[in-house]
């Protein structure tokens, strides 16, 4: 065990109080309260989850419809969100200044309707796929696109029913890099194709479908970089 001081100084008491306050705030932040919002329920995975859990509750003798379950979830989510917001509000400036927090949702909702980033180069010779996740060529474009921070941008900002605004800027960034390396190309298409996953024994594999295509022309990019 660590060695303790024989007599506790006043500073030891002050330190203990400060640490206790920090611990209480961090624990409050860490508690995974169900902060559900309406837009979360628009996600197909959430809809499937509602059907699954409501049928489980019904089977257990508590008849519940997906709509009822959603309502309960939204009410609880609102309460939980408001509570946490109120308690942690005074500390928000400090959290922003230090970039600290305790929200840990590591792969909390694995999405079976995954996305696949595809980058096509379009030139006089036709269209060539320069990158299609998960890659395999090991070239500079692949290394760039698979760097965790860049992946975060398209996986978080683009791989969703409606991409965020950053997806357009990301597409232009990728196009600029591709044009630099391929002077022969005059357009680049960045897409996040829908790639539905079907576990073995649960149906036939579903082919990818095109989604969120952004076509960037060299002329446009050069006119307004």
């Amino acid at each position: 065990m660590s060695e303790g001081s024989p007599a506790l100084s006043p500073w030891a008491w002050v330190r203990a109080v400060l640490i206790t306050a920090v611990l209480v705030l961090q624990m409050l932040d860490a508690i995974p309260l169900p902060e559900l919002r309406k837009h979360h329920l628009a996600n197909p995975v959430a809809k499937e989850e509602l059907v699954r859990w409501s049928s489980l509750l019904t089977d257990m003798g508590r008849p519940t419809t997906p709509a009822q379950l959603a309502e309960i979830g939204l009410d609880m989510g609102k309460m939980a969100g408001n509570f946490r917001k109120k308690v942690l509000k005074p500390w928000h400036p400090l959290r922003r200044l230090t970039g600290t927090g305790q929200s840990w949702g590591l792969f909390a909702y694995p999405e079976p309707a995954t996305g696949r980033l595809v980058v096509d180069g379009i030139g006089p010779e036709g269209t060539e796929t320069l990158y299609s996740a998960p890659g395999g060529k090991g070239d500079a474009l692949e290394t760039l696109l698979e760097y965790r921070r860049i992946r975060g941008i398209y996986d978080d900002g683009g791989d969703r029913p409606r991409p965020r605004r950053i997806y357009q800027r990301f597409s232009r960034f990728v196009a600029a890099r591709v044009f630099e390396a391929h002077p022969e190309l005059n357009a680049v298409e960045v897409r996040l194709d829908l790639h539905p996953l079907v576990p073995p024994g649960q149906g036939e594999p579903v082919p990818d479908s095109k989604r969120h295509a952004r076509r960037i022309l060299r002329a446009d990019l050069e006119a307004s970089p």
Partner: protein, 321 residues
């Protein structure tokens, strides 16, 4: 009450905290160097006007780093350069507290430039850095120690406050437990067929193995899903183990059983196997290594010394044979 105050007043050898400092700053420095190597300093740290992917100039309140340094590409380089320099200083143990504080403040600004590029693991690193800003983590295995004692390793009787290590150890427990509780999707449970790991390993953005391979080991991925979920949920067992070690003089069968086994060490070994396993099955960047860099905080400095001695002796024996 006195026990609680006394707990945060304890002192111990700086070895464990120094290990966290070295591992954590190495992982982060590696990540920062990759930003430079991929020519991403301005795209990830710059304003949109300078050529950045984000639009930090639209934020309210504004970012102090751009208020101070302007909105040109120079500000992005200064932000990245400041982070890298302070990270290097922390690694070497030069003005470590100041370096950790500067790093955490710059890192927080960097996170706001392109929020989508800032992942959960970055928050863990910042949380840990903020604790290191209050810790004497460079009292051994550092240039500070070399200047003070004439040796990189501090004398065995060196003592520093233990509370920063306790906070980091608690962070490990909270991280895993909260992550386990957050895994509310049915795919993590038998209700949803325990498909979570299969889905993650087949997601083209994280996939390391070809589809056919993942499909071939589908039953194994289901076992892995269950083990991951259970392992994260039982993270508080470390707290219980520490408590039982603390109160070893009391009676009780469970306490005696816990104290017969190195529960914390077993939990961490399983964790290391899990993280190294995910590194070889999923492309998660620095995630596995960054999490494991905080592990030494869960090990008492004396236990860490014994472990390092054992490893050293084994290596020496191997070299001789």
């Amino acid at each position: 009450m006195k026990w609680w105050v006394g707990l945060w007043d304890r002192r111990e050898h700086p070895r464990s905290l120094a290990a966290v400092r070295i591992l954590l700053s190495t992982v982060l420095l590696w990540d920062l160097l990759r930003i430079w190597a991929y020519d991403l300093v301005v795209p990830l740290a710059g304003t949109h006007a300078a050529g950045g992917i984000g639009v930090p100039e639209g934020l309210t309140p504004t970012l102090w780093v751009f208020d101070l340094l302007g909105q040109g590409p120079g500000a992005a380089w200064a932000l990245w350069g400041g982070m890298s320099l302070s990270c290097l200083m922390l690694l070497l143990g030069l003005l470590p507290r100041l370096a950790a504080l500067v790093l955490v403040l710059l890192y927080a600004q960097f996170a706001l430039v392109v929020p989508a590029a800032d992942r959960g693991i970055d928050m863990l690193l910042r949380n840990s850095l903020l604790v290191l800003a209050f810790a004497n983590s460079a009292d051994t295995w550092s240039l500070t120690s070399k200047l003070r004692h004439g040796a990189f390793s501090a004398p065995e009787d060196t003592r520093i406050p233990a509370w920063p290590r306790y906070l980091l150890a608690l962070q490990v427990v909270v991280l895993y437990f909260a992550a386990g509780v957050s895994k509310a999707a049915s795919s993590w449970t038998p209700v949803g067929g325990l498909n979570a790991l299969f889905i993650a390993m087949s997601d083209p953005h994280f996939q390391r193995w070809p589809d056919e391979w993942v499909r071939a080991i589908y039953p194994l991925t289901r076992v892995g899903t269950l083990v991951t979920w259970v392992w994260e949920w039982v993270a508080p067992v470390m707290l219980l183990a520490w408590w039982y070690r603390e109160t070893a003089d009391r009676t009780g069968r469970l306490r005696a059983w816990f104290n017969r086994w190195p529960i914390v060490e077993i939990y961490l070994v399983v964790g290391a196997i899990f993280h190294i396993g995910t590194h070889f099955t999923l492309r998660l960047g620095i995630f596995p290594f960054a999490v494991m860099s905080v592990y030494p905080s869960c090990v008492h400095p004396d236990a860490l010394a014994r472990l390092l001695d054992k490893l050293g002796a084994r290596l020496t024996r191997r070299r001789r044979t």
